[in-house]
């Protein structure tokens, strides 16, 4: 399965990268475009696009709408990393072992590159309605992505995260923060993929919402475990950074063993949510397995 999953991830990466490259062609004399491309093509694993493709392919082959949705969620993710890394935010100078955007360029360019990627995400997603394509469905995808990215989702979660430094969060508050900060965009990736097929029922979308809620949280629990267990070389960012900032984590609240038990429970819940889809859900199940077992 590991080899099959690696091949599936590579295939998703190839497909979304082709879409991203067509949305943001090279523009060597423009530092803004260079910064946007630097952050978009930085060796990311493309987990969110893979979830988008995996959800779409429950219902049939990926469509043009799927490619655009996969590119749009990755642009939102890339913009959020650029802004999260800024000195006024997490102040990280390394990401995946490379200088962050504001180090490689400058802070103003990094702010604008993030802003530009967010706008481009919506432009890319909304491009589907012209001529062919289902306009009401595309509009629903725009709303889903905007809601996931905005103050009730990712941006709101990041604000909660910053407010949590040096504060004692309990487990429900920690969960609410992560559901917003990382869960909302993971959920949107899966929903947009399913919607892009044009064939998902309300029941399908509900089941996929349960799946993505579980893996979204699992993603963060795993991050916290890795933050304690990993070395800087493997993770590409400073080890124990959250601990140093005195941020609450699953490992600090539950202990390392408690966090691992929580991760296993979330993995089980994710698998259960996929049961109605039967063997068609093998790729999504493998992605869930990857999220809980990755070593960086």
């Amino acid at each position: 399965m590991a080899a099959q999953l690696a091949a599936y991830l590579a295939d998703c990466q190839r497909r979304v990268d082709a879409q991203l490259a067509s949305c943001l062609p090279e523009n060597p004399h423009n530092p803004l475009y260079q910064a946007m491309r630097y952050s978009l093509f930085n060796g990311g694993k493309r987990i969110r696009p893979a979830l988008c493709y995996g959800a779409a392919e429950l219902f049939g082959p990926a469509t043009a709408a799927t490619h655009r949705a996969a590119a749009a969620v990755e642009m939102i993710h890339a913009y959020s990393l650029i802004h999260d890394d800024l000195p006024a935010m997490d102040n990280d100078d390394l990401r995946r072992g490379k200088p962050t955007c504001h180090i490689a360029f400058d802070e103003a360019t990094a702010i604008l590159a993030g802003d530009g990627l967010q706008a481009l995400a919506f432009e890319t997603l909304a491009d589907q309605g012209e001529g062919h394509g289902d306009a009401p469905l595309t509009l629903r995808m725009v709303r889903e992505l905007a809601s996931a990215a905005g103050p009730g989702g990712m941006v709101g979660g990041q604000a909660m995260d910053l407010a949590a430094v040096n504060r004692a969060l309990d487990l429900p508050a920690l969960e609410a923060m992560h559901n917003a900060k990382t869960g909302a965009l993971i959920t949107a990736s899966v929903q947009l993929g399913a919607l892009s097929s044009g064939a998902a029922t309300a029941g399908d979308l509900d089941a996929l919402r349960r799946f993505s809620a579980a893996i979204g949280l699992a993603f963060q629990v795993k991050d916290d475990i890795l933050d304690v267990e990993s070395h800087t070389d493997t993770l590409g960012k400073r080890q124990g950074a959250d601990l140093a900032l005195n941020k609450p984590t699953y490992t600090s609240l539950l202990g390392l063993d408690g966090a691992k038990a929580k991760l296993a429970e979330l993995h089980r819940a994710a698998g259960e949510a996929l049961l109605p889809f039967g063997p068609r859900a093998a790729c999504l199940a493998a992605l869930a397995g990857f999220i809980v077992s990755r070593d960086h």
Copy 2:
């Protein structure tokens, strides 16, 4: 006319503020929402919403789609001001005589408030297609706004502006910068208003594009003139700030008299573009007059 225009502006402000308040209700315990509301309700003149209403009302009464479009363009404008004022960008601590967002809150909250307003703009605009509403048209409005806000529009213009510090730009380069930085969103405000009516022809949209290109540039030429002529008290920001940064301006390239002649020529071109609409265009014409004759 001055009293009529003031009444029209006040009416547009009342309408867009009602829409904005419903999109972003008070949330007193959430600093992110407070920062977003602080920047959105800061006494701005709501010129872009007024242009949106003025364009819609060429074709009939404003619709729900018009209110949403007016709110969306104002959210994009408000987000851009928050990010432009940041220390890494223009480093302004006053806007309209009040502390800028990152001074009143903090820098991280200001970055996130801007990010959240951009997402909320697209969520607000895309909300039109549910049930009633014309989905293909709404999608076209989303594309128009995203394209105006992104790297080919406002964000790209801001990047050009930052790169222009201490560099000698010629007139075409200065014009390209302003067309992107402020012109694109003004054009989008007018286009979205016209589109929201559901009754604008391709010819109407072209004429309005000529109108908004002229007033967009006029807006900036007037800003440069005011920057030289005004006092800090009236303008609410430090006088001659662009000059201090050694940024190219219309007054530095054309002289004060040359800039005034340019402004008059743009005003004439804007009026000419409105001729096909006859007396229905009185509000848009008055807004153009306001842009070229305002004293702050």
